[in-house]
Symmetry: C2
Amino acid sequence: MSEQQIIDQQSIEQRMTIGALQQAYRSGDLKVETFLTEKLQQAKLDDNNIWIETISESQLKKMLKQLSSKPIESLPLYGIPFAIKDNIDLSLLATTAGCEAYSYQPKQSAQVVQLLMEAGAIPLGKTNLDQFATGLVGVRSPWGAVKNSVNPEYISGGSSSGSAVAVAKGQVSFALGTDTAGSGRVPAALNNIVGLKATKGLLSCTGVVPACKSLDCVTLFANSVEELNQLLEISAQWDEKDCYSRPNSAVNGDEWYQPENRLSSLKIGVPKKGQLAFFGDSSAQKLFAKNVQCLKKAGAEVISIDFQPFLDAAKLLYEGPWVAERYAAIEEFFVKDPKQCLSVIETIVGGATDHSAVSTFKAMYRLQTFKVECDAILDELDCIVTPTVGTTYTIEQVEADPIQLNSNLGYYTNFMNLLDYAAIALPAGFLDSGLPFGITLFGKAFSDRLLLSAGAQLQQINDFPLGATGLPLMAQSAHENEIDIAVCG
Amino acid sequence: MSEQQIIDQQSIEQRMTIGALQQAYRSGDLKVETFLTEKLQQAKLDDNNIWIETISESQLKKMLKQLSSKPIESLPLYGIPFAIKDNIDLSLLATTAGCEAYSYQPKQSAQVVQLLMEAGAIPLGKTNLDQFATGLVGVRSPWGAVKNSVNPEYISGGSSSGSAVAVAKGQVSFALGTDTAGSGRVPAALNNIVGLKATKGLLSCTGVVPACKSLDCVTLFANSVEELNQLLEISAQWDEKDCYSRPNSAVNGDEWYQPENRLSSLKIGVPKKGQLAFFGDSSAQKLFAKNVQCLKKAGAEVISIDFQPFLDAAKLLYEGPWVAERYAAIEEFFVKDPKQCLSVIETIVGGATDHSAVSTFKAMYRLQTFKVECDAILDELDCIVTPTVGTTYTIEQVEADPIQLNSNLGYYTNFMNLLDYAAIALPAGFLDSGLPFGITLFGKAFSDRLLLSAGAQLQQINDFPLGATGLPLMAQSAHENEIDIAVCG
């Protein structure tokens, strides 16, 4: 092998995007078996507390053997390594939901996992999370706090912490998370990757440990928006076994993914002065303002909106009765011995019994009132932009103040599923501390393709390095000629 | 006045349909003031316990004066008398919801009442109901049991009892009721009139005392389906003040009211053998079978379906947490002194505190599971036909067994709003006892015009006498040439 060949090989291995790997497999530059064996080794050597369990080498071999019987071109995710949050079933490994005592061996994989594997993707293991997906911090786990991919003293965000960091560190190409109150968006933001919390019900929750069953979403993490779009197409299938599953809308199919110059036709709302919270982080504040400028520069009409009804709805999630869903999800386990949970989880879930049916219906009426107000605001817009989180914290800070700081992280995320909106979390630059900052675009249910289109254009414009790898965004083959590139100040 | 003229005049007065009255007003055969003054007198002399309060003569005069400034042709409901269930606000009178101690003087009329009055309709007063709309019997009222319009020893059905009987006895042309679990359909069936429980949210609930706020519907009673269609067009307007209000769907506008030969293109489900309940009433059973035959004769494809998931959903309503909505609706009043309610209402509403937030969410998951099953059944059909009630009872029988017999009456109605379906109650002949029997057609949300079209054709085919008046159905001007008439065995 020449020196040049070695560099190319390294470059391919570091470039984890689906498109780059496919190209390398198809051209023969990269062998699936060699590559995935290396990736699995890398995962096993990880020291960020990303993984709860990885697959065995023999399990990998078996999957590779099955894969080898199929032509590379026949499978859109042929040999693409991915990670699965450990509240989503993979038949090969136990599901713990972040709690050893709760752990069970699933008979089959979650519907979403099955669909991705049928498309050729290879799961490397199950990732660490805030126990029972209850938290936005990534430190509430007996497997240890998941360390931020950029600076290990900082939190990774949660609850889908391990999945996000696995992508950011280039251990997998994409990962599955879940998102009830922000768990799929906060860790995307804090690790400089993209996260899609699609419209509720588009991705099946069959085979997922519920957090709040009426609100839960399975989410996708990747390096590029282009990949999110491809993954959505593969994983969003109506599922008769999930009572909250919904078929996609006709105006939200793959053909509506049109990133070319998409921002110039959009009306984007932004919370008016005084309604944005950065919790004292002026660096984040400046970055957000810069991102809004960037949207304007790309031609979007940015309109100041009243964000209060969204914030009011957000408050309902933690103050209201929805915590009872978390209790209902694990009731049998919980009542036997609540002490098997982490203390902070025991406190939160145990609080569910304070809520009555009467207070539940009253909260639902209030929510419905807020929804009417929020919908009316969105009726005048295509989507809304906010920070994904207002600031970030060190692991030490969160351990010292676990409830309030967790709550701060949900300021822009808690309302989303209550109001039945779709959202995409996008990298948005780096804070003075060097840590990633992120923004979220959100819109009504079934606005996924619009958000993906806008997000893809923004990612091309910003051209930030990917995750924690420092590598540039690789132009994706499918749409590379369509994307309008402009440089933002 | 010649004898013939006197007969014509009587005939007009007895024919209370909107079309007949409009014609008589416009031709000058009938004077609005004379007619409405007589109608108000008739209402004041009523001995069926229909009314809780009627308007005063001076209130009528004032409304007539306002009306007289407008051309008859300009208002679709010019001078049409109607009745309002006394849980719906009319600014002229107090709202009692069937409980004197609860009574309040509304500042303005309910949105639906306003719309009807703006269209020229004249409210004659507020009608008796099962207290707080909690019941399907029409006997749970301090104002006395509302007597059946055909046989006063029998129940009228409830909770919109007074409104239905007012229409059936020809005291008003139409009436407003409400329907949470069957209150707008059961009394229609038991009094031989038509009742529309439109898609949830189409008629605003602003100005209505809630029963179960997330389920409540305002309903329409009339003599003919043609009139229901007209009234729906006038009264269904999205209302920003009602958080559960919904705009109509594009496929459910007035232009979709097409009764001509409508049945011949429909697939209609009917509960399979063993899932129909007539509570020992063989006469009702025979009538239902005859009605199904009639649908077939008119060309409908009638398909046997599994009715179990609908029945399972129905059970949830009374066994599940939704009673907490009734408590939430009157909590402040109720906690002060529950004894101000009728004993049966106190027992029912007081039971709400047994339900927790956890049990509420669990019930919602079960409901959602049933909804998936029921929707899948309806996906293969245009609508489903059932009896509206399986049998009927005397007032004495219900007073002796107030809970079980009430529950029997809800067998075919309780699931409707939980599952978000639209329904129309139609006269379907007379039992051996001479009492009316009714059937219901129901379909998915926004199937209202389809149900109205089918119902109108069926009413023309059956040509039963109207309400308790014995008068024949008067062919309605707007669509009379379009309706295909066939005689059923």
